[in-house]
């Protein structure tokens, strides 16, 4: 890394901060630079993104998730004390799990599958934006090159994540019908894991950033990490929201998705009193002796009918109008003809929509 990240709080004089002041300064960085403020996240949480844009987010963010344990292993390798390593290694376990099918990466894959991706496509990382990869890789390089205290400080975005997670979960569940609670299982775990991790890291930084210079370096490390997250959203916004410039080789909507039979199309057909309904050839109403009920037989399909539908269809003969049928039923059931007519029109429309009734 050669880029220099300027101290975030430029007007704070170069004096030694108390541990509490340092914490406040670090939190201030999050308040101004954390990616919950990014326009892409606001669109995501407010339900303003379409399904493909949510997919792009889930796919790209997978790369970040997948590299987090790599990053943590680099940090771990630089820790000289067993006590520190015992605590830090928990992060790797959280992400990788104790076995196949477990852990944060797996839960993120579930999320990606939940929005329609094929698992193998996500694992291949081939549709991921180059900008995402550069940004995430820069994070891994940062923790391998900077002193341990700065590497740990860069993880402190976890202090801010519980807020974004609860906003995200409630917003996405409310706004997207293709998102379920199962899909978002990743975040449920992080709600408890992130604060635990952040408490340790914050304490470490407060105890080890003991000079004005080290304190500024801790702040710069956290700022850098906020930029890592922010840049990923810039890239997503640029490619998939506006101006919508998807780079060559990056995921195109439609790619990498599980083949799925879409829901059948719905058409609306209205019926009025004067219309004459009829069953077309190839559709027959009959009594099924074995099951003791009427069924409607159609090409490759059988419809179960309720008593009202049977009463109506028994009067459908290609001669009687809807009003005639309502009149007959009104006599039989001693009910108001116009009420019956109002009831049977939508029923006939529904059958017509299923292509088993014509007029």
């Amino acid at each position: 890394m050669t880029a220099q990240f300027p101290p975030p709080v430029a007007d704070v004089e170069q004096r030694l901060l108390s541990p509490d002041e340092l914490e406040a300064a670090l939190r201030d960085i999050g308040a101004r630079r954390y990616h919950n403020l990014h326009p892409f996240h606001q669109l995501l949480h407010d339900g303003k993104l379409n399904k493909d844009q949510v997919r792009a987010w889930a796919l790209n963010r997978y790369y970040y998730q997948a590299m987090i344990p790599v990053k943590d292993a680099v940090v771990l390798a630089r820790m000289q004390e067993a006590e520190l390593r015992r605590i830090w290694r928990q992060r790797i376990v959280d992400h990788d799990g104790d076995g196949p099918g477990d852990g944060g990466i797996e839960r993120w894959l579930k999320l990606a599958e939940g929005v329609g991706f094929e698992r193998d496509y996500v694992l291949s990382t081939k549709g991921i934006l180059t900008a995402t990869k550069f940004s995430v890789d820069a994070y891994v390089h940062f923790v391998s090159e900077k002193p341990l205290m700065e590497a740990i400080a860069s993880s402190l975005t976890e202090m801010f994540s519980p807020t974004i997670i609860s906003e995200r979960v409630s917003g996405m569940l409310k706004n997207y019908d293709f998102i379920t609670k199962d899909t978002l299982a990743y975040f449920e775990k992080r709600l408890t894991q992130a604060p635990r991790d952040a408490d340790f890291a914050l304490d470490y930084v407060k105890r080890h950033a003991t000079t004005p210079d080290l304190q500024r370096k801790a702040m710069a490390a956290l700022t850098f990490k906020c930029t890592v997250l922010w840049t990923q959203l810039d890239a997503l916004y640029f490619a998939y929201v506006a101006p919508g410039m998807i780079p060559p080789d990056a995921w195109q909507p439609g790619e990498g998705l599980v083949a799925q039979a879409p829901a059948p199309a719905v058409r609306s057909v209205a019926f009025a009193g004067g219309d004459v309904p009829r069953l077309p050839r190839g559709v027959r109403l009959r009594f099924d002796d074995v099951r003791g009920k009427h069924v409607l037989l159609a090409p490759e399909r059988t419809f179960d009918l309720d008593d009202n539908a049977v009463a109506v269809l028994q009067l459908v003969d290609g001669q009687r109008s809807v009003s005639d049928i309502a009149g007959r039923l009104a006599e039989t059931y001693a009910a108001d003809r116009s009420v019956i007519e109002a009831d049977i029109c939508p029923m006939l429309a529904d059958l017509a929509q299923k292509r088993v009734l014509e007029r």
Binding site: E118, R119, D120, G254, E255, L257, V258, A259, Q260, A261, P262, P264, A265, V266, R267, V269, P280, R281, G282, V283, R284, R286, D288, V290, R291, V295, L297, P299, E300, T302, R355
Partner: protein
Amino acid sequence: MNAPTPAPSPSQVSPAPVGLLAELTHRCPLRCPYCSNPLELDRRSGELDTATWLRVLTEAAGLGVLHVHLSGGEPTARNDIVEITAKCAELGLYSNLITSGVGGALQKLDALYDVGLDHVQLSVQGVDAANAERIGGLKNAQPQKMQFAARVTELGLPLTLNSVIHRGNIHEVPGFIDLAVKLGAKRLEVAHTQYYGWAYVNRAALMPDKAQVDQSIRIVEEARERLKGELVIDLVVPDYYAKYPKACAGGWGRKLMNVTPQGKVLPCHAAETIPGLEFWYVVDHSLSEIWTQSPAFAAYRGTDWMQEPCRSCDRREKDWGGCRCQAMALAGDAKATDPACSLSPLHSKMRELAGQEAAETPPDYIYRAIGTNVQNPLLEKAPL
């Protein structure tokens, strides 16, 4: 007569079957390399006689069957097809003629209409005539099919076009949709090949790649929207690229009975590929006995036979573990989870296999023919 079998427990007996697939004959003028018939085709001399088919239909109606699919081979190759169809109408059975539309089909169509045929499903192998005739292995088939379709709609019979999709015609999906509209069909089946029977040994010649499959699905989705109210399009997605398996035949021994030309009764058309199953014949038993007591129907009915991951899966009564025949063919174990399921440990290998085959130059078709001695390494050893 077979050895007595203990009666199955009540939980193992399904409600009445709703469909009967009557494979009236294996004779067919077409030679499609994806035919679902078994590799060992029944000969004319072994076919059931008319009286037996009429009895089978009567028993089917009594058992609760609602739909009869008159199939084959080419069902109109039977001289008694009109008599058989009339019997369906007399019994209130919904008759569905599944036909190639070639040979004597057109000649018999009016008579079938007169005796009360309910629905026609016509196969089309391709849109471009030369391509279609290469796939079906019969010259001049396409104009006959077009004439046949025209007469079906002229009579006012509901028409479904059935197109089996594979790498040799997947580029014609938009054409199939236009053709269905042009012919006045109410339904179109865009059915990706299911790899059983002849399709299994021709798999490398038929398997499309994932991108082609995805594109075909997008085209169908778009057309459904555009043709709302005009054409219903049913899509059968290919197992090898699916996430979950299909509930084959609606679940083993739950909805469907399949009677072969010789009168052997199967839970699905490929069931004979599973070794060790004991099938009963309509000449020895009534359909009702076969449904409730035959060992083959009991073998994989319900969920008791399942292994993990099916056994504890919350989808086990949705897809019933997928297809037993596919599990047998690919995993070498009919009780295994269908490798088409993403929860199967073999799923990714199955998909890899499909991808590899799709990437290679397609071999020549092994055309369907009675008496062919098919050689294919796939038949010797389960590949996964």
